[in-house]
Every structure is written in structure tokens, then in C-alpha cells.
């Protein structure tokens, strides 16, 4: 294998060092021209080829359990992660883990599912809500054995079961393509960011544990989450759901990009478990207040903006049973104490004290409610052999609003385990897929195309342009048909003209280029789903359709790519499974 770092010839290295400095300036927005000062030779890029029964894509909570359970069910299993196991995506930052313990809960699992369903206004899938409660205690017990609840940082406890089982792990590999052959999944492809190398992984079954995504907003730790799994799966024919829901996290007005500061000391806390506590929040009401009254706003949902007590007419509907106002801050303080986020009775995790502004998590829906459409209760997609778990699965476990505290981590653990066993079962009964060399050449060419472009658009600039169109609160938070139509015109321009011309000078920028492509398509999904749902419900709020419409909209929205390449939308009634055809 030859990589540029192995090359000792001075000429090319010297040239690259010079042009690399130029590319660095361009990435910082200091150069207007779009020439690609490529630092590596795309014709000298190596390739590695792997085979496994079950491929798990993603190294967070869902990926951990998917890999462990697939392995334990007898399938050769491999994990590939864009970052590091337990240190990428949102997993490192969740500290609460919901456990339904019949010994301590005063209510039954039936009561729990009913309460979530009332808060979610029918948007949750009660089968997945029940699974969460039924399996959470067992998953927490396994995590306890691995040391997860004894530390602040998740990498070591996550490595414990992976090393004990000898499960191969590829880290810092960006997967860009799912491969489908003869109507079923056949593997995945991508590239390493630390070397000039593409990676092919042949697999009988693939589990997407690729997490959620956003538009790389400031103030929330999802800069590496760009809906990669959802978009890759969509491109090979998977159905996608839940794109109209919105997570409504705020960030501090003083240092909006300071994610760590905004969460108080929560990121440094040792994880812990919690019992039943069902809410109906995560900020859509607060974002409405911010839209009407202007920023900043204070504290968590329901707290008063600036303490002036101004009443705001209209806004998102909150069921009476779940309305709550947080107690005012102690004298001399602007809000809850740092680190109180997520504490019982307090604001949800991530809502910090003091003056806040909205849009911190722009582009992300409610956990577990956007992603692949589940075709059964075992995390299967409509593509044979392709599964998804956690935030990559649109299970609607919580519904279109944040309901059970601590269910994000727990839901990923529970679904990862279920998907792992289902995928292993599929894989052991399935012959190894065949992928033609021609197809691999085609995919590799697509992966590396941004490195070969002599000119084009920098991914940082295209991302910023997309952010400017899609993040403002009058587009996807407080929605109107006319404004979404206008935004869609911009997004279509980026999709059709700029995405095919994205350039990259090195493997870091190649990752940014692919992330940018994925965000553009996710933006289109979010706009089209939000325009389609002509009502307001849970975290989807439209100024032009402010009421709940139970006659027409007791339904989820599914998206798929039509035969002509355009995005198609359809309804799936709440409480039903999709038509297998």
C-alpha cells in the first residue's frame, strides 16, 4: 500500500506543502477563488477490502449493542465508525439512561406506554415504546458490567466487550455508500481520513447505527452527525420517515458556539439511570416565544423570557396533563444552576441557565423519530438485510416530541441489541453477496471525485450557504408554506449545481464534502415533509396550519426516491406497519 506519507520524493511533497497552505486559507474563507489545491494524488490511493456477515456502521450506543448481540448470535461481525468507539456522535454526551424497573415503579409498562402515547399525541409507535421499557433494565445491567456507569468517558467501557469478543473495529473511516446487489444489501464503502485509502466492506447484512444529524449548528455536539446513514440508505431505495420533527435545544447567548459551557458540567458527569418521567417538551414552545418576542429567552421550556412574564398568543399545543412551568430561579441567579439540566423536575438535558438563543440543534429531529422506516418490530428496513437502530431508525419510540427522560441512550441500547440479533439471523441464512468489480470501480470513483476536481466549491462554503438558508427560525421551526417553498428553491440549487461540484484538497475535506452532500439532501427531506404535513402536532409547528388535524394527519410521513429520481412522499397511518410491497 502506498500513501502520500510513504512517498519520499521531494518534488510532490514540497508542492503539496505549498498548495496545502493555500487550501487552508481558502477553508477559512479568506480566498474567493475556487481552484482545488489538492494535497494528495487521487491516482495513488490504496484500497482495502473486507468481508463479514454483519457490518455495524456507527460506534455509539446503538452500534455497541448491535455488534455485541450480532456476534453473540453467531455472526461474524465488524464495526466501522466515522470517529472513535464511544467518542463520536451524541453518545458521549448523554448521561441519563432510562430503566423501567418493575420493582421500584409504581405503574405498569402498559401505563408507561399509554402515558407516552398521550404526550406524543399518537405520533409514537407503541411497539417500540414498549420495547424500550421491557429491555432497558437488561441493557443497563450489561453496561454496568462493562463499567459504563463508573466513568465519565465511554471509550474504555465500550471497548471492554468488543475486545473480549475480538470484534474487528475500523475507526476514523467515513462510509459514503451502501451497496445493494440483486435487490438486497451487499456491503458498504468509504474512506479513511488518516490515509489515502478507500475501504470496501462486503457484508450479508448491514445495521445502520449512524445516529442523528443536523446542519452543523453552533452550540450542540452533533458537528459530526449529518444524517449520513439515512441519506446513503435513501439513495439505494430505503424509506425514510420523521423528517418534519424538530429538536428545540437552545444555546447560551453569550458564547453560542460553546457547546460544553452550555451544558453546565453535564458532559463531565458519570452516567446514571433514572425511572419513569414522561414530559412533552424539548423547546418548540420556547422557539415560538423566541420567534414572537425575539431572542434571547431564559432557561428551559415554559420559563419566562427575560423574566418579563409576557404572554404570547398561539403557539404549539401542549396537552394539559403535560404542561409545566419551572420554578423561578433562586434569588440572584438567572436560571437553574449549572449542571441541573436533566435533573428531576428541572429542564431537559442541555437547557442551560441564563439568556439563551434557539437553533442549537438545527436539523435534528426528536431522538428515535427520524430515520429509516421500520418494517417490523425488529428494526428491519424495506431493503433485505438492511437494519437500523437508535437515532438512525425512525422507530418513533418517543414520538414527535421528547417524552421519556433518559430514553435516548436507553433506546439506542435496546434497539441496537434487537437489530443485532435480527441481522445475525438474516446473515447466517444468507449466502455471501457478489459485488462486481465494475460496481466497485464506479463507487470508488464517486467517493474520490471531489479530490479530482480542479475547481469547484469548497464544502465549508456550501455548508455555510445551506446553514444561512435552512437554520433561521422562520424556516424549519416556525414554519410557513411560502417560506419553505422559497428555501426549497435554494436547497435544490445546492443539490443540483453545487453538490456535484464539491471539491476536496485532502481526506479531511473529502469527509466534509460528503457530509455537505448529505446535509443538502436531508434539508430537502425536512422541507418536503414539513410542507406535506398541513397541520401542527408535537414538534412540528406551522403558522399557516396551527391546529392539530386528526381527520387527515393521524399518520407518519414516509419519503423515498421515485423511479425518476425525485423525492416521493406518502402517509402511513399511526399504529400501522408499512405495506411490505
Amino acid at each position: 500500500m502506498t500513501t502520500p506519507s510513504d512517498t519520499s520524493g521531494p518534488t510532490r511533497r514540497a508542492f503539496m506543502a505549498l498548495s496545502g497552505a493555500t487550501a487552508g486559507l481558502a477553508a477559512l474563507g479568506m480566498q474567493a477563488w475556487a481552484q482545488n489545491a489538492v494535497e494528495i494524488d487521487p491516482d495513488a490511493i490504496a484500497n482495502t477490502d473486507h468481508s463479514t456477515d454483519v457490518l455495524v456502521i456507527g460506534g455509539g450506543m446503538a452500534g455497541l449493542f448491535a455488534a455485541v448481540k450480532a456476534h453473540d448470535a453467531g455472526a461474524a461481525t465488524m464495526i466501522v465508525s466515522k470517529g472513535r468507539l464511544g467518542s463520536s456522535g451524541l453518545t458521549p454526551f448523554g448521561k441519563g439512561f432510562f430503566v423501567f424497573d418493575p420493582a421500584t415503579e409504581s405503574s405498569t409498562i402498559d401505563d408507561f406506554v399509554d402515558t407516552v402515547s398521550r404526550s406524543a399525541l399518537g405520533t409514537n409507535n407503541p411497539v417500540y415504546t414498549r420495547q424500550l421499557a421491557e429491555h432497558s433494565r437488561d441493557r443497563a445491567a450489561e453496561l454496568r458490567d462493562w463499567g459504563f456507569f463508573d466513568q465519565t468517558l465511554a471509550n474504555r467501557p465500550f471497548m471492554q466487550p468488543i475486545e473480549a469478543r475480538g470484534i474487528p473495529l475500523l475507526e476514523r473511516v467515513t462510509i459514503t455508500h451502501l451497496i445493494k446487489e440483486n435487490g438486497r444489501i451487499a456491503g458498504a464503502a468509504g474512506f479513511r481520513i488518516d490515509a489515502a485509502e478507500t475501504v470496501i466492506i462486503r457484508a450479508k447484512s448491514v445495521i445502520l447505527c449512524t445516529g442523528a444529524g443536523g446542519f452543523k449548528p453552533n452550540g450542540f455536539p452533533l458537528g459530526d452527525l449529518t444524517h449520513d446513514g439515512t441519506v446513503m440508505a435513501y439513495r439505494i431505495g430505503a424509506k425514510v420517515t420523521g423528517k418534519e420533527w424538530n429538536d428545540g435545544h437552545m444555546t447560551r447567548a453569550d458564547h453560542p458556539a460553546a457547546t460544553f459551557d452550555g451544558w453546565g458540567d453535564m458532559f463531565e458527569r458519570v452516567p446514571s439511570t433514572n425511572g419513569v418521567e414522561v414530559h412533552h417538551d424539548l423547546g418548540v414552545d420556547l422557539n415560538y416565544r423566541a420567534y414572537v418576542l425575539g431572542n434571547p429567552v431564559a432557561g428551559g421550556p415554559g420559563s419566562l423570557p427575560g423574566g418579563d412574564g409576557a404572554e404570547v398568543a398561539g403557539g404549539p399545543f401542549v396537552p394539559a396533563e403535560f404542561q409545566r412551568n419551572f420554578d423561578g430561579p433562586p434569588p440572584g441567579q438567572d436560571g437553574p444552576l449549572p449542571g441541573q439540566g436533566g435533573a428531576p423536575g428541572g429542564p431537559p438535558p442541555g437547557f442551560s441557565p441564563g439568556a439563551n438563543v434557539g437553533g442549537a440543534s438545527a436539523g435534528m429531529a426528536i431522538h428515535k423519530s427520524e430515520g429509516l422506516v421500520p418494517f417490523d418490530d425488529r428494526c428491519a428496513s424495506n431493503i433485505p438485510g438492511l437494519y437500523a437502530a437508535g437515532d438512525a431508525l425512525g422507530s418513533h419510540m418517543a414520538g414527535g416530541i421528547y417524552t421519556q427522560i433518559g430514553s435516548s441512550l436507553a433506546g439506542s441500547a435496546v434497539q441496537g441489541a434487537i437489530a443485532g440479533e435480527a441481522a445475525a439471523e438474516f446473515a447466517v441464512a444468507t449466502p455471501a453477496p457478489a459485488i462486481t468489480d465494475a460496481r466497485l470501480v464506479e463507487i470508488t470513483g464517486e467517493i474520490l471525485a471531489p479530490l479530482r476536481r480542479e475547481a469547484g466549491y469548497g464544502p465549508a462554503w456550501v455548508t455555510q450557504t445551506l446553514q444561512g438558508v435552512i437554520i433561521p427560525n422562520f424556516v424549519l421551526y416556525i414554519k410557513k408554506g411560502s417560506m419553505m417553498q422559497a428555501a426549497l428553491a435554494y436547497v435544490e440549487e445546492l443539490r443540483d449545481h453545487h453538490a456535484p461540484m464539491l471539491r476536496a484538497a485532502n481526506m479531511h475535506e473529502l469527509r466534509l464534502a460528503w457530509e455537505t452532500r448529505n446535509m443538502i439532501l436531508s434539508a430537502e427531506m425536512k422541507l418536503r415533509a414539513s410542507m406535506f404535513r398541513t397541520e401542527s402536532r408535537c414538534s412540528h409547528y406551522r403558522l399557516d396550519y396551527p391546529e392539530i388535524d386528526d381527520v387527515n394527519w393521524r399518520a407518519w410521513i414516509n419519503l423515498h426516491q421515485g423511479a425518476d429520481g425525485t423525492m416521493q412522499l406518502s402517509k402511513q397511518p399511526f399504529g400501522t406497519w408499512p405495506d411490505p410491497s
Binding site: 475556487a34 458521549p92 458532559f267
Partner: protein, 69 residues
Amino acid sequence: MTIKSITGCIGCEECVKSCPCDVIRMEHGRAVIAYPADCQICHLCRMYCPVDAIEMSPEKSIPVIVPWG
């Protein structure tokens, strides 16, 4: 500057591996801040560093949007 400085690096690469956004790279056996514009100020690098070499700032240097990028 987001991640502000790395002083006293011992070359263990923990920060490089733990950064979700590929901000830090190794150069001559030491960690360097290679792509500060992509830092999300989550502090994972600081928390994983075994020798407290990393200093953080709450400020982000947001690049200016330029035409025809």
C-alpha cells in the same frame, strides 16, 4: 479559537482519536490543531488528554462567507 492550545503534549494521540470532528492531527509526534474551524467546543479532547495539555476557549472563529466559495 475553540480549542485554543496544546502545551506539553506527550504524543499519545488520545485527543486526535477522541475528536468527533477531526480537528486535531499528529505532526512530528505531537498533536496539532489542524482544522480549528470544525471544532464544536465539546471538550472531549481536553477530557481524554491524560496530561491536561489542552486549553479551551468558548469563542469560535467562524469563517466569513465569501462569494463563489
